[in-house]
Amino acid sequence: MTCNDIEENLKPFMEDLLGEEEYLAFHRHLEGCPKCRDHVGAFDSFAGHIWKLGDVEVPSDFGDTVFLKLRQSLPAPREPQPSTSKSVFIWAFIAVLIAATLYFAINYFKLRESLQEQKEIVLPQAILEENGKEQIDDEQAEVLYNQLKGIARTLGVSEEEAAPMKDSGAEKPLAPVAPVSSKTAAVVNPVQLHWHFRFPNRENKNSLLNTLTALGVKLDYRDKEFFIFTATKEQLTGMLNQNPRVSQENSPLRNLGPATKGKHHVSLYLENEETPAVHWHISAGLPGYRPLFKELVRKNGGTVTYKSGDEMIFSVLSLQAKDIKTQIAAMRIMLDEYGSKEYEKEGSTGLIIVSVYFSK
């Protein structure tokens, strides 16, 4: 409808005599044409008045209120209904009560002692932030040391745990290190060896892996140039002899380790300038340090993917890896780093895998 049409249809509109389609077309034009709207509005009619009365002020939070009510109206997801069998519930309650009583009875004295001695762990970062210092002082270091001793007692940690943790998405770890059987108990624990193998190219690395396979050595863990396996002295000697690169003078693998009849648990770090692997040696002389380190990793958002004997492998964001290093240094604990330092560069992001060897 045009402005001329509006003028022509004005009288029938006022008397509500327009057909429906014309009526709608009439109003559609008025909505889009301020001139015609004002012209029609100037006529004094009840319909015009009612139309003008519609020009009200809407509350400014109208839209927000709609969204708020909409969100409130969403039903909560239904939770699974627990079993309501009354007698089952009562028996389960009694069983829990008995179990709890037995537990506390057996552990009463042990628990009392550990509760008295257990203190809250204060991580170095918290201390640093509190004091505004860049390094903790001797007094604080001693406090931390005593806390670590307390943690070890409380947790009753065995430092020879071998259970692998959840796969973080890195190369799939193989089966964990098998526990030493009672037949080799004479040698008791396998000798723990940690070696570095500096390989110049991928060919040498593959050659080493082929050698291990040929000697019947199975890798217990393999991730980002950090291999863990158990082998006899004969197997290890064979590996050194068959792989010329390995026996090079600059390779620490030449120093095989104490001659024993038992198995050697070997963690092997393959060094190469191009690999993105990150590897740390941390002096773990403090008792109970390893659980604290694990806690440190966890608090910095890391995930431990392997923990065994003297090794730990975890994945963490680049930024957090830097923070962990800072916190270890703050604890006056020695850390030697090998491999890639890319993660320390400004703006570095992404997940990295860190292999750790706890040296004595």
Binding site: D44, A47, I50, W51, L53, V56, F62, T65, L70, R78
Partner: protein, 168 residues
């Protein structure tokens, strides 16, 4: 609509925002006059109507149907409100004083009508809906809707005369 569907529905915030922008004034005004000028009640009913109707997420090109459903919900919610007259003499600044007086008189007369008559006049003369759409909202025939609207318009004129003569 399942919980997940409703959750996914609310993610169409852009669509809902557009619909609110398009219809908030119309619906608020409709309910405001049905509630006798109580802005808080009107806001509550109008916003709740959007929520009720949002369950039925409109397809493209169905905006008018959405508005009809919205108006239907709003009218239904307004029915039980005991409407007084909360309008004051403010508003419509910029209009000539005598025209303002006419507007206020019409408003006063409108508020004196029955609920059903108010609905008819507001839907027809304020929201400019066709008799067909009004019939859908009120669930009546078009013929009945038209004749009742005309009757409401006549009643409105009578009320205005009474107000002007001082007998109302």
């Amino acid at each position: 609509m399942s919980y997940d569907q409703r959750r996914s529905g609310i993610k169409d915030e852009k669509v809902l925002n557009l619909l609110i922008e398009c219809y908030q004034k119309k619906i608020f005004a409709l309910v405001l006059y049905l509630c006798g000028g109580d802005r808080d009640k009107a806001c509550d009913i109008a916003t709740s109507s959007f929520v009720d109707v949002w369950d039925w997420a409109p397809e493209a090109g169905e905006d008018n149907v959405f508005f009809i459903k919205l108006a239907t919900a709003a009218i239904k919610k307004s029915q039980d409100i005991k409407a007084g007259s909360s309008f004051d003499q403010s508003g419509f600044e910029g209009i000539l004083p005598e025209k303002r007086r006419s507007l206020f008189t019409t408003r006063q007369a409108l508020l004196l009508l029955s609920f059903d008559e108010k609905v008819l006049l507001l839907l027809r003369d304020q929201l400019h809906l066709s008799y067909k759409d009004i019939a859908v909202i009120l669930q009546k025939s078009q013929a009945a809707t038209r004749s009742e609207t005309v009757k409401a318009q006549v009643d409105l004129r009578k009320k205005v005369k009474k107000i002007l003569s001082g007998t109302e």
